[in-house]
Symmetry: C2
Subunit: 450 residues, 2 copies
């Protein structure tokens, strides 16, 4: 057994569910399915019940306690009826459950210590005919179930554990990493964890896989895995370039030097105010933080809005010459747009280029406007153009952040609302106050290794 | 008489030589030519004597006191003989004169209060056969003399006066403006000052004139006037884009509102230390000055070297992020490279982009180098690339200016020599010490209107 196999065996002992866990889960799932089928029998329409997801296929990581059950209705059933019948079945199976809302409302509850989702969907003929995203799930399940044996399932679990360990597992819009379905397709494609990692070492994005060789459009993504159940869909669409690059990095490092720690890295020690002050002092930058009450949104809505807002604010500070070294958004009770500037203040004047002197009326208009203002240096001639040095709107990053001009940049809608309610600007050393709420985020910020 | 004509009449009275000035000059020139011809008769070779230049053609600006006399030798005369005989004639005509050196040595002296140059050249058959640049002058003189009558000569004088007034007259390498010959060709082309200015208002460089329609190559200059005596030569080659733009500007403004002041602008009041401090305070910039002993060079060598050095220093400061707003070189007893920075200091760390993670050995080499150094932040992944934040070589502009790294940029040879002998770095408020020696230059710098 080589070093790779030794590490993987040690990890497998932890993450691959053992017989006892499998039997226990199968028992609970069987009782949930039976209850759901009984409830379906009381409905005035025909419907069937399927278990889906990693616990249906034996590809869950030990300790996951999610059982997903879908109730499939005829595609011509009105949506209101589907929702009503779906909740009726859910409440029958999970009397202590509560409603949640994805594309339809559904019921979430617990059975014998397991988290159970009971979700209604349409039983369409083909995955390309879906009426909502959840309708696709049973097709994914059927495709994988037909192809995964126990050995492959074990490799899927190990691969998920690897991707979790390096921080790129999850297709939520905060992580923007590898979904469970994507991971299973990659293992199917490459055969096992080791072959997958060896292949990733040689990836040069864009990388395209098309297991059913039926893709019929092109995608502008670093990783493309054409959905075997839908030729129009890239299963890896959400996966960011950063995360593909991180996978390539960790695959290379792990194959060269396999360690258990890559699956299970130590959590960083949260940064305290004193260590943050020391980092800022060492870096010599000027950070600014916009801090405001976090909008009450699920993560999949909150993080895209924070990122859009951060890009707007950091982009504008950069354009204004406050040169942004790095930036990040954090959210907990409060939300923070953290922008680390290389330049905190600029001169009172800024160069403003006018038109070439020989562009007739436009040039004369520019010259006359400024020649009469008296508040500028120039207009003078530089090369072909008129140029003036005129007063900057904001000589400091703080001045801009504290002004209404902030709302001139592109912001997430709910972030903009929250900012209009009020925000605090912290600058330089003041930002160490963030270490309390965001010590873990800041630890990663100041130690950003992949 | 319209406003334009009224202004021009007033200027003409000052700048167009009157009959008395013309007769006086003709008398002196006649005596110089006669003396030169007598001296030529004593030589063992055949040579002739011609008066050239604006005083030969009646196109000088009143008060100019330059008489240029060329002695033309057969083209097969060895260069050493040409120089020897040339100096012999020069010393005979100008016994109190002294030698100077352009392409050949020649004699410069005064006769009855006029400055006389006595220059040897070759009498070649065609301007394209010249052996040195001075051989061309008699061809220029012949071309213009055959075409300029008294009316055109008056327009040439007025045009020269206009170009002087707006600061663009002179083909020396400090001014990089319009030579006398170029001015005369432009007046020949357009007919008079007014038509020339009206045409300039419509110029959209590159502008090309070819009076003899014999040009046979292309030029990469904003203004091209093909030499009527040499189809390969652009008479306006030295004229900078700035100066063409200035002409267009002043032509437009003057035609719209003719004033005597445009021919005769008031000299700026030299800036004193107190006013300079006020300007710096208003601008909020951080200027730096490198001050050193001016190399002992003629202006046509000194200024190009200073400009090359300024471009090297300012360009590197800009690249390092000390964002240069404007820069200028001054020279008197000392020489100064003056660079006005928008940013005087940057953080201790700077971003350094590595290769894309998937560029095999190169990426691994980058990662391993920095992962083991411990002195950097990262390597981390940003998009496709490895990135580190590592210590900057120079966190302040002053630190770089005071280091040997200064000599890593492109500098004029004699400027580099002078800097190696020693230099002083003035920063911020310290630069007001320049106001003593360079008050006039600084006044133009801080009031840079065209």
């Amino acid at each position: 057994m080589d070093e790779f196999e030794a590490v993987v065996e040690e990890i497998a002992a932890r993450v691959v569910p053992d017989t006892e866990e499998r039997e226990r889960l199968a028992g609970v799932a069987g009782r949930v399915l039976a209850a759901a089928e009984a409830a379906v029998d009381d409905l005035p329409v025909a419907a069937d019940v399927v278990q889906v997801g990693s616990t249906a296929r034996g590809t869950w990581v030990s300790g996951d306690r999610d059982i997903d059950v879908f109730v499939r209705f005829p595609p011509d059933l009105p949506r209101a009826d589907l929702e009503r019948y779906g909740l009726q079945v859910g409440r029958a199976v999970l009397p202590d459950g509560h409603e949640e809302y994805a594309e339809h409302p559904y019921v979430k509850g617990t059975v014998e210590g397991f988290d159970v989702d009971l979700v209604p969907c349409y039983r369409v003929a083909d995955a390309t005919d879906i009426q909502s995203a959840v309708d696709r799930t049973p097709f994914h399940d059927a495709y994988l179930s037909a192809r995964l044996d126990a050995d492959l399932a074990r490799e899927v679990v190990l691969t998920k554990a690897f991707l979790k360990g390096i921080g790129v597992y999850g297709s939520d819009l905060r992580t923007k990493g590898f979904s469970g379905y994507l991971t299973e397709l990659l293992v199917l494609a490459y055969g096992d964890l080791r072959s997958f990692l060896a292949a990733a070492c040689d990836w040069r994005p864009p990388v395209e896989l098309d297991p059913e060789a039926h893709g019929r459009r092109s995608f502008d993504d670093p990783l493309v895995v054409v959905d075997p159940t839908d030729p129009e869909r890239n299963v890896a669409a959400v996966c960011s370039t950063d995360n593909v690059a991180r996978l390539v990095h960790h695959a290379r490092v792990f194959l060269a030097d396999p360690t258990v720690e890559r699956f299970d890295p130590p959590a960083p020690t949260p940064l305290d105010a004193e260590r943050m002050a020391a980092e800022l002092d060492r870096r010599g930058t000027t950070p600014f933080a916009l801090r405001f009450d976090a909008p009450d949104l699920v993560d999949d809505q909150l993080y895209p809005q924070l990122e859009k807002s951060l890009a707007g604010v950091a982009g504008e500070l950069d354009r204004q010459g406050f040169d942004v070294l790095r930036a990040a958004a954090f959210a907990d009770e409060t939300a923070v747009l953290f922008v680390e500037c290389e330049v905190a203040a600029r001169p009172a004047v800024a160069r403003h280029d006018g038109p070439p002197v020989w562009v007739g009326g436009h040039a004369a208009g520019f010259y006359d406007k400024y020649a009469e203002s008296g508040d500028v240096y120039g207009p003078f001639v530089d090369g072909a153009r008129y140029v003036v040095e005129r007063e900057r709107d904001h000589a400091t990053a703080r001045s801009w952040l504290e002004s209404d001009a902030l709302f001139g940049v592109s912001l997430g809608v709910r972030v903009e609302d929250a900012l209009r309610e009020g925000y605090e600007v912290l600058g330089g050393e003041e930002t160490v106050a963030l270490a309390g709420e965001f010590g873990a985020d800041l630890a990663r910020y100041f130690d950003p290794r992949p």
